[in-house]
């Protein structure tokens, strides 16, 4: 089966600019996750969707981050305006279930650098 696809792989922007990341999950996976991974740390969940509904966005900085999952398939994550501390790898993952009893499948991420 095809894996989780993410684009772009790399992005360099200046602070206060905006940026968007795209994710296409594995076909049939109802649950989609966006994580932020800062260098040297484990991934931190930003937002979790089931189909096109949000089930957890408690750690999403909503003043600057937004995400949507139209039609319950592809998803986009946007940052506007970007800050220096947003430099990180943004990982998308998908899973068959919602309660965490199935493994999550990750894309290779987008590495974001803020100048």
């Amino acid at each position: 089966e095809a894996g989780v696809a993410q684009s772009p792989r790399y992005k360099i922007i200046e602070k206060r600019q905006s940026v968007a990341f795209w994710c296409n999950p594995i076909s049939g996976h109802a649950t989609l996750y966006w994580y932020q991974q800062i260098l040297g740390q484990g991934p931190k969940l930003l937002i979790q969707f089931q189909n096109n509904g949000v089930v957890d966005d408690s750690q999403l900085p909503k003043d600057r981050f937004s995400a949507e999952r139209l039609k319950g398939v592809d998803s986009t994550l946007k940052i506007q305006p970007a800050k220096l501390e947003d430099s990180a790898v943004y990982l998308c993952a998908s899973s068959l279930d919602i309660v965490g009893n199935q493994p999550q499948h990750f894309g290779d991420g987008t590495r974001l650098s803020i100048l």
Binding site: V4, Y33, G40, Q41, G42, P43, K44, L45, Q48, Q50, V55, D56, L91, A93, D97, I98, V99, G100, N101, P103, Q104, H105, F106, G107, D108, G109, R111
Partner: protein, 115 residues
């Protein structure tokens, strides 16, 4: 905040030796999962152990779980240079309430296997 704490932070061994990584966590869990991350890539699921299981094997991997001590260990036997990667434990909270089986990752252990 990070749920899992991994130990050691870094481990360097020779090919053929065994590698053991430990993970401790703080709250009640539904299951615990181990993931591998190669440099510049996404995370790959290795093994999932449920809260009512004590030990699980997959190929050269052996995972143990001690819920009374809130700890888990990952053993990689007969290591290979290709096992060089970061290894993360992740806990899935009880699905009751509003946790939706959220995965919380530790900081990871960097494993280097020298040929």
């Amino acid at each position: 905040s990070q749920q899992g704490e991994e130990d050691p932070q870094a481990l360097s061994i020779q090919e053929g030796e065994n590698a053991t990584m430990n993970c401790s966590y703080k709250t009640s869990i539904n299951n615990l999962q181990w993931y591998r991350q190669n440099s510049g890539r996404g995370l790959v699921h290795l093994i999932l152990i449920r809260s009512n299981e004590r030990e699980k094997h997959s190929g050269r991997l052996r995972v143990t779980l001690d819920t009374s001590k809130k700890s888990s260990s990952l053993l990689i036997t007969a290591s290979r240079a290709a096992d060089t990667a970061s290894y993360f434990c992740a806990t899935a909270a009880d699905a009751g309430g509003t946790s939706y089986g959220k995965l919380t990752f530790g900081q990871g252990t960097i494993l280097t296997v020298h040929p």
